[in-house]
């Protein structure tokens, strides 16, 4: 692990500390600290007393996990099968990938050089099972035989380890030749299991960090590609491949994820989503282009991309269709394609349908659902009634000066945005009580008060929706008036 140096002297010993039962203890140490005889678990105060120049950094498990996740993502350039072995191990399943890098040894050297360039120190090992590789990387060297590794490499837990030491075992080789049954009887079946996995007697696999998307295509370049246009051409070819696979499976993609690996190790992710399953390469390519054009930070090729991967993580079944001479009767596909295109350029959340929210408070009645969703039914107005709700609602409602009968008569005249309006027709009040179960939320920083709504028309025919906020004397001394909306 990397110790963050900050402004402290570079040659001071660094430790990570954790707080355990009210006291800070050492969690992880760098080499200088280890060389001074400090060890994990020691109280920080003791360590300070022995090494006054000690630099302590609070341990940040989340940050560490993030770093590991980022490293695992970057290691995906070698194989898609990467597992994080906490706290600091990465296991790469390079079965079938090594030849792309000229053999296992070359791949390992390249990977370790790559990680070193990120400012990390790497110990790596290759073995037949993940356990063996981890043990060799942590406790041995590439050339060391598994047999000479310490018992700690078995990772069996402190009690079994203690029992084994007491029984006089010191390394893996001591156990390797022994019959399994007596070992299991004395030290537990888990020891035998761990031993078998370590020595490759039992098949062992990793669980890759990210499940492989069922469909993907990728392209590696001999030379880094620095032009976005070229990447788009390659993407078109990848899309053709992917769409053929989709066609074979009778599926269409709902989400297309593009991952661009830059030659300096940075990874850029782009994704487009569609409202309906799609397997038309040209359509998806256009969506990606819209997305790229709309990026706030443009796609920076730097010294060039050396690897492009396209995956389809979300698919839905899409039956093969005969292309008709004319568009379908409802044309819903064209509409879905249009909304996808606009959504990819401007953001999908900008296009929505109105949906009723099951509330009687006017500003909460109208909710939004994604445009790709099916239309939601609204209650039809009663025949013969004039419009009872305004077309637009002000958010927040606008304060007005009103001439009205005290205490709770209808309004007669009001002044809004500097213009006086004389009311010639009005209907009301329609009393709308606040939702008592969410008292704290009313507008104007008030807890919700009862509102008396009036539909009014002024002498020029303008129709407004006004309300008096609060019941006179019961809720407020001086009820305020607001314009909440305008009628057509």
């Amino acid at each position: 692990m990397k110790a963050s140096a900050g402004a402290s002297p570079a040659d001071a010993p660094h430790v990570f500390t954790v707080k355990q039962r009210g006291a800070f203890r050492l969690h992880a140490l760098d080499e200088r600290a280890l060389a001074l005889g400090l060890e994990p678990g020691m109280p920080l105060a003791d360590a300070r007393a022995r090494v006054p120049q000690l630099v302590d950094v609070p341990h940040d498990p989340e940050g560490e996990a993030r770093l590991m996740a980022r490293l695992a993502d970057r290691a995906q350039r070698y194989t898609p099968m990467v597992e994080i072995d906490p706290p600091e191990g990465l296991v790469l399943d390079i079965e079938g990938c090594a030849h792309l890098f000229g053999g296992e040894a070359l791949l390992a050297r390249e990977a370790s050089r790559f990680m070193t360039r990120q400012g990390l120190r790497v110990a790596h090992a290759r073995a037949d099972t993940p356990e063996a590789a981890l043990a060799l990387a942590r406790f041995g060297k590439e050339e060391t035989a598994l047999y000479s590794l310490p018992l700690l490499a078995l990772r069996t837990g402190p009690d079994v380890l203690l029992a084994l030491r007491r029984a006089g075992f010191t390394c893996i080789g001591d156990l390797a030749g022994l019959p399994a049954a007596p070992l299991a009887a004395r030290f537990g079946a888990r020891l035998v299991d761990a031993l078998d996995r370590l020595l490759g007697r039992r098949d062992s696999r990793i669980v890759p960090r990210r499940a492989l998307p069922p469909i993907f295509a990728e392209r590696r370049f001999a030379e880094p590609v620095a032009r976005v246009e070229t990447v788009m051409i390659v993407l078109g070819e990848l899309l053709e491949t992917v769409c053929e696979t989709l066609l074979e499976r009778h599926e269409g993609g709902r989400r297309f994820a593009l991952r661009l690996f830059r030659s300096d190790g940075a990874v850029r992710d782009l994704a487009v989503e569609t409202g309906a399953p799609v397997r038309d390469a040209a359509t998806v390519l256009r969506l990606v282009q819209e997305r790229v054009e709309a990026l706030s930070d443009p796609l920076d090729p730097g010294f060039g991309f050396d690897h492009v991967r396209l995956a389809v993580p979300v698919t839905e079944s899409l039956a093969a269709e005969q292309a008709g001479l004319m568009a379908g009767p409802d044309g819903s596909q064209e509409l879905a394609a249009l909304l996808d295109r606009l959504g990819a350029r401007l953001g999908g959340q900008r296009f929505c349908r109105l949906a009723p929210q099951g509330s009687h408070v006017p500003e909460r009645v109208t909710g939004f659902v994604a445009a790709a969703e099916n239309a939601v039914a609204w209650e039809a107005p009663l025949p013969g009634e004039p419009p009872l709700r305004p077309l637009t609602l002000f958010d927040p409602p606008e304060r007005i000066d009103v001439l009205a009968q005290v205490p709770d008569g209808p309004p007669r005249q009001f002044r809004w945005r500097g213009t006086a309006h004389r009311i010639v027709a009005q209907e009301g009040p329609e009393r709308i009580a606040p939702e008592w179960w969410r008292r704290s939320g009313g507008h104007d920083a008030n807890p919700g008060l009862t509102r008396d709504y009036y539909r009014v028309e002024d002498d020029e025919g303008r129709r407004f929706w006004l309300f008096r906020h609060g019941l006179y004397e019961r809720e407020t001394d001086m009820p305020a008036w607001y314009v909440h909306g305008l009628f057509a």
Binding site: G331, W378, P387, E427
Partner: protein, 266 residues
């Protein structure tokens, strides 16, 4: 004419393309009020661009209502999805209310609302939408204020897209917008008008003062007062002033002058 015969065919074609023309469009859509339909030559053209201006800042709601009423007339047959494009700043000022739309007769579930960041994106999205064949019945483009980006070129581009796909474009200009040259087929100016009172002096059905400012290839400069009959889905000419009968109220209401104090509402 000798002058025109000397023009090369290519130049003639270019002139024909650039000259304002009345394109052949689909069937006309009558609005319901006979006087209006007669002036319009039968009704409003589908697959064309129509501009609706609000009469001043306070006519915005009326203009919006009129555009929605036109939209319902235009979408009576064919695809019925309406795409409403507006700017973010407009949406922040006044949000659409679903029940309010339903009260005008438009099913809010049929409406797709697009809130775009700026005027440029608005125009671009609208051209894209107008090129969409099938699925979309109408594009309502709401622009607030002066809208300098909406020049003759932009409106011509949108009109061509609308003509080729058959999707109608309604340009709703709210705020203090002043008419500029455009390729729109008709241009309307809409303000509020006193409604016919219901019982108990309640404000009645939407009544609008509508002016036809301009009509390409047709007469213009007419003023009407129109009432929107939601239940029938059409405009009616306003009854004579002084009438106090609800138009769609059903049976006859006794014309009591003082006794009419109550109305059954809701």
């Amino acid at each position: 004419m000798p002058e025109s015969s000397r023009l090369s065919p290519a130049l003639k074609r270019a002139l024909a393309l650039s000259a304002p023309r009345v394109a052949e469009t689909g069937p006309l859509c009558p609005l319901g009020a006979e006087a209006v339909d007669r002036v319009l030559g039968g009704g409003l053209a589908r697959g064309a661009c129509h501009e609706v201006f609000g009469r001043g800042e306070e006519g915005s709601a009326s203009a919006m209502g009129f555009a929605l009423m036109l939209a319902q007339r235009l979408m009576q047959d064919g695809p019925r999805t309406l795409l409403w494009l507006r700017e973010e700043k407009v949406q922040r000022k006044g949000a659409l209310s679903g029940p309010g739309l339903a009260d005008l007769g438009l099913d809010p579930g049929r409406l797709v609302l697009g809130v775009v960041p700026d005027a440029k994106a608005l125009l671009r999205a609208s051209v894209d939408a107008l090129r969409c064949r099938g699925g979309l019945g109408l594009v309502l483009l709401e622009m607030a204020g002066r809208a300098p980006l909406l020049d003759l070129t932009a409106s011509r581009r949108m009109t061509l897209a609308a003509e080729s796909s058959g999707v109608t474009l309604l340009l709703l200009r709210t705020g203090t917008a002043s008419p500029a040259p455009s390729a729109a087929r008709t241009r309307w100016d809409v303000g509020p008008a006193p409604s016919l009172r219901l019982e108990a002096d309640a404000p009645g059905h939407p009544m609008l003062a509508v002016s036809l400012l301009r009509q390409r290839g047709g007469p213009a400069g007419f003023d009407w007062t129109l009432e929107w009959d939601r239940d029938a889905g059409l405009f009616r000419p306003a009854a004579l002033p002084g009438a106090r009968l609800p138009l769609s109220g059903g049976g006859p209401v006794p014309l009591a002058d003082e006794g009419e104090r109550w109305r059954l509402a809701g």
